[in-house]
């Protein structure tokens, strides 16, 4: 199914106002959450947000770039480790450990991309798996610096804008704000010419190259950008849990994120966010009923791949398309 090279969205005029007001409602609900929801709900939504960053990272590469990358959790955890090393253990104050983490992510992502971007498809997937595993095994086995299996603890969020971030509602608002910022950045990228080029490369790299684009460097660029998304999420996650362990970087987590993105719909702007919210809440609900969370997720994964490869939003879309076909032309929405 060849998708158009337009971005995933172009709201029709008539729907504009309705869409905006609904979006505003959701936004208000989210902002006021701490006033009507209990502590655990806030914690869960905060979790959804920082995992959401990871999902955005994967979706950027998958949905826009057509690349399944299994390295994203490395960048997610990397910032946490740097903050632990510099902040928790050596007492260097905000924002230096965080910035150092982001810088390290850029460097490593760049190096990874140099190797990765000469490959496509299945080879790309396996190479990213290898790189991801290298990162994980380094975190797992290095005890002198990274404490191996035990990980880094004692990470504390800083005081920002006069807000004490150890209060969970404050932290939630910060996360929400940063996430909205990230969504805005993502929107700009998707709508920009860069986004167009990446989608073009996804469809036909050879043609893009013939058109004069530096396919290799464009792909490197999108990889680094995606890594940064994951990295920012990782900072929030580290602040929130106070601890980073090799399991933050583990393949299990990576597969979960991949599933989450595919569940929501990789090619849709809101797909990863939707998928993350559903998956995190599923975690809460399912773990109260059965410890077999992984089995349920695995089954859902199978169903999605078989029946809804474009995710829930894709399903919604095809239902809409069918409804549209059945309606006579010219009628109002």
């Amino acid at each position: 199914m060849i998708q158009s090279t337009r971005s995933a969205w172009r709201p029709e005029r008539a729907e504009h106002r309705f869409g905006w007001s609904l979006g505003a409602l959701v936004f208000i609900l989210m902002v006021t959450l701490p006033w009507y929801a209990d502590a655990y709900t806030i914690t869960t939504y905060t979790r959804s947000i920082y995992f959401g960053f990871l999902a955005l990272s994967v979706a950027l590469l998958l949905g826009q770039g057509g690349m399944i990358s299994l390295t994203q959790t490395i960048f997610f955890g990397m910032t946490g480790y740097v903050i632990g090393l510099l902040g928790a253990e050596r007492g260097i104050a905000f924002p230096w450990p965080e910035l150092a983490g982001l810088l390290l992510v850029v460097v490593v992502a760049f190096l990874f991309a140099l190797v990765l971007m000469r490959t496509y498809g299945l080879v790309f997937l396996m190479l990213s798996l290898a790189l991801g595993q290298i990162g994980w095994s380094f975190a797992r086995q290095n005890t002198s610096l990274l404490h191996g299996w035990a990980g880094m603890r004692g990470i504390k969020p800083p005081e920002l804008f006069g807000l004490d971030l150890s209060v969970s509602s404050h932290f939630y608002w910060l996360s929400l704000a940063v996430f909205c910022g990230a969504l805005w950045v993502l929107w700009r990228i998707v709508e920009s010419r860069f986004g167009l080029v990446i989608r073009g490369i996804r469809e036909n790299p050879r043609r893009m190259s013939a058109l004069g684009y530096h396919v290799f460097w464009q792909r490197v660029a999108i990889f680094v950008v995606a890594a940064l998304f994951a990295a920012v999420g990782g900072i929030l996650a580290a602040w929130s849990s106070g601890i980073v362990t090799p399991s933050t970087l583990h393949l299990n987590r990576m597969i979960w994120v991949l599933l989450v993105v595919i569940l929501g719909g990789a090619r849709y702007f809101w797909g990863p966010v939707l998928g993350t919210v559903i998956a995190v809440w599923l975690d809460v609900v399912i773990s109260q009923l059965t410890p077999r969370y992984n089995t349920v997720i695995g089954i859902i994964f199978v169903l999605v791949i078989l029946m809804a490869p474009n995710g829930l939003l894709g399903l919604w879309d095809s239902l809409q398309a069918r409804r549209r076909r059945n309606r006579p032309p010219g009628s109002a929405l």
């Binding site: 498809g121 190479l127 290898a130 290298i134 393949l251 992984n294 078989l306």
Partner: protein, 282 residues
Amino acid sequence: MIIMLNGLTQGALFFILGSGLTLAFGVMRIVNMSHGAFYLLGGYLGFSVLQHTGSWTLAVLAGGGFVALLGLLLERGLLERIQAGGDLSQTLLTIAFSMIIADLCLATWGGHPLSIRAPAALSSPVRLFGFLYPGFRFVLMLTAVVIAFGLWFLLFRTRLGMAVRASVDDRETVSALGIRIDTIYSLMFMLSAFLGGVAGVLGGSYLQLSPGEDITILTYSLVVVIVGGLGSLLGTLISALVLGQILSFSLAFVPEMSMFLVFAPMALMLAIRPQGLFGRRF
């Protein structure tokens, strides 16, 4: 010296694992990400069979056999359905299977690591060059050699093998010749799963089975197969031997870097020569 023997033992296990994976890929272009889960399931089933029957040989055959049947079910039931979706969809599907199988294993056999008792006859220490070495590890090496020979014979000296090799090159012509391609695919996948399950029982006998092992085993299998070349038996053999030595020596001298040193060749190979040592361009 012992370290080298350890390397050979590891290499033997790697080969058995890798041969299964490479077979599945070579014939069907499927990167079976459930291979690690097959290992784990086969091992656990073997453990239970041993507990109930007391026969280790039966455990090996049962472990491999049940997993082979499971492989058949999966291949027929689901993988064929999405052939159209392409390699990536199939790979994702096998990832999903892997999650389900691993979790069900956890539910059935619990979280505590299990060890399979190999028969005493096979396990007694062997005196070699003045030191003792566990006998079972030689059994493992011997098994790998037998399997290698068996596979070679199957692929290069039988008509079935000829059909398999031909279908790798040119699927359409082979099926036009009247050979049942689908049957061949299913048989090969079953064989691949069988090897995975058997590896599980063998591995569980000299090491241990525990949750999470499936991911480790999968990644090792992938490394072996990618370095050797997907689809190439000879490549798997050579890379298994080399990687076994790398792992063994690094565990002895630089245990902090042991996993890194095993994964690095895979990354290098994919970056420089994606088809591996002996594979074909794909």
